[in-house]
Symmetry: C2
Subunit: 351 residues, 2 copies
């Protein structure tokens, strides 16, 4: 009962946005740096720069500084008006120390003490000690949904994001599960097919290998290369003629559209991804017994063709207690989840 | 750093056994009720009764009362001399409320408020309000190893027990992960073989279905029934002639002995169980990034024939950061883990 009371208190605090201080959120991705000034889930300004022109930390980090300054300028405030800076970044990284190790999605980065660099920079340049918090992007997104999205009011939450890859963020008793070196929550890299094929991570039969957007596109293009995809290929060409494209590489989005149009190969590929997601949900429920599992990421936009079979497997296979306990819902923060989650890092560390 | 300091402080507290109060631990199993008076991992008395004569809570619960009184008598102390009573019981149960739901291993039990019953009983009969704590047996065992066994000094720990079934206990930042209805940590019921066979829990391709003692025996007896096990059957008969037995049902222990003796079917069965355990270890490391994974239960007694291939898979397939972080060690408390873990419930709730 005391836990429920705590949940309600927190929800009330978050739902009085005027009571929240301003923060800066930075969503550091493989292709974009997005920066915003936020109050809760409300964006007061928003800056986006491409990063692929600036490979390596020595050129990207000055862009992070500039993005923060520009986002503050656009919101017509100064660094003194914000409570802190939160940064969501690709893992592996250590959320306790703010050191980014060697993420496959950040070329040239290796053991970069991003938190210390930002704190030092603003201390020197602006004569202001601003607290900085760094967390991996899936954990930050989980925190954003927990505080301001589909997870409000719950204390035991698992966030699963299914897009190019599959990532996870786990919240137990209101706190992110970081693990001892900050890499906990790699739910996309649990084996569900122990005699399956090798994932880019080195493991075998990972959920990500079977159900990510990359997996859906790979399976379609493999079938086409094997001469089994003429109907799908014709469909893809028809889409690309409409938009003037020449590329015959089929994307996950095209497979989804083809499945909606009733093309059987595409239906089969989406059904297999759905099955893998359903198995992932069973495992999450058995391991964590959460109150809520939040599904985010572009692949969830496929909708009922994907979600209905996944939920059917979840309901068929999960043990009664964790099945009855777990609500499965879609994420609410959409493409802003990275920014809101980055800002939430400041709230959860300072409030 | 502060976490390390906390770990060291805790370890010092536990390692001064004279500083610990006396507690009662009850290990409530499907076939035995074991009861002890403990100081830390030290047993001052020990009582064991078979439960299979007393099916149903109406006959078992009075036996729990009597066991506690007898264990106190044998230790020559009274209820007033102990800080509390801890009970490890088969799940599903709710560790927060102390209500036992309907465990498959406790026939006739359904929504029994064991904690409240014991507190009321001793309050009435002994005029003494003694605090009682109930937790599922795998979580209690994890806590026992965390406080007094192989987990001392660590804060992020996963305990995996491999015996008749496979259970788990997860400790994050020094606390048991209970889940919202108390059923978290069902690591034996994560799917690793998504197109595999159905487990007794209703799920498909569970780790328990592939690597438990039951699984090892089932595979051997299936092979024998299919006429593929003549060498193994001869070996089993030779063992049983020595001990005078007539049963041709091959146990997991016999399969292990046959594998040690070089019988190829048995070697193959143990190797497959080892592979499944290795895959389970990879998943645990990716999901929790723990400091230590502790392996307990009778199946681990098979030794290097099982552990070496499992560890090889773990080292081959786990991502670098969680692989380097995780020590994999054997449990230290042996068959007393249930009693020590039950007692640890009192320490972790009262200290």
């Amino acid at each position: 009962m005391s836990q429920e009371a705590t949940g309600v208190q927190q929800r009330l605090a978050y739902e009085e946005p005027q009571a929240l201080p301003l923060v800066v959120g930075v969503d550091l991705g493989g292709t974009q740096i997005r920066t915003a000034v936020l109050r809760g889930a409300e964006l007061l300004s928003r800056i986006a720069w491409l990063t692929d022109e600036y490979p390596g930390p020595e050129r990207t980090i000055p862009r992070i500084y500039e993005g923060i300054v520009q986002a503050l300028d656009e919101a017509r405030i100064t660094l003194h008006d914000v409570a802190g800076i939160g940064i969501g970044a690709p893992g592996p990284l250590n959320g306790r120390t703010g050191v980014i190790f060697d993420p496959p999605n950040l070329h040239g980065w290796r053991n970069v003490p991003l938190r210390a660099l930002l704190e030092e920079h603003f201390s020197m340049v602006k004569q202001h000690m601003i607290p900085v918090f760094v967390e991996n992007d899936a954990n930050a997104a989980a925190l954003g949904e927990y505080m301001f999205g589909a997870g409000r009011g719950y204390r035991e939450l698992v966030y699963l994001t299914i897009s190019t890859g599959i990532g996870g963020g786990i919240i137990v008793d209101g706190k992110i599960v970081q693990g001892t070196s900050g890499t906990a929550g790699e739910l996309g890299h649990m084996t569900i097919d122990w005699h399956g094929e090798r994932c880019i991570c080195g493991n075998i039969g990972c959920l990500e290998y079977l159900a990510s957007g990359t997996a859906i596109a790979r399976r379609a293009n493999q079938a086409i290369a094997a001469g089994q995809g003429s109907e799908l290929l014709t469909f893809a060409h028809s889409l690309q003629q409409q938009t003037g494209g020449q590329n015959v590489h089929v994307s996950a989005g095209t497979v989804a559209e083809a499945a909606q149009a009733g093309i059987s190969l595409a239906e089969k590929i989406i059904a297999e991804a759905a099955e893998a997601i359903g198995v992932g949900l069973v495992n999450i429920a058995h391991i964590f017994n959460p109150e809520v599992i939040i599904l985010g990421g572009g692949v969830t936009l496929i909708g009922s063709l994907l979600m209905e079979p996944a939920l059917r497997i979840f309901h068929e296979r999960t043990m009664q207690m964790p099945r009855n306990a777990a609500r499965i819902v879609l994420a609410q923060l959409g493409t802003d989840v990275g920014l809101v989650g980055a800002g939430a890092l400041v709230y959860c560390n300072l409030l």
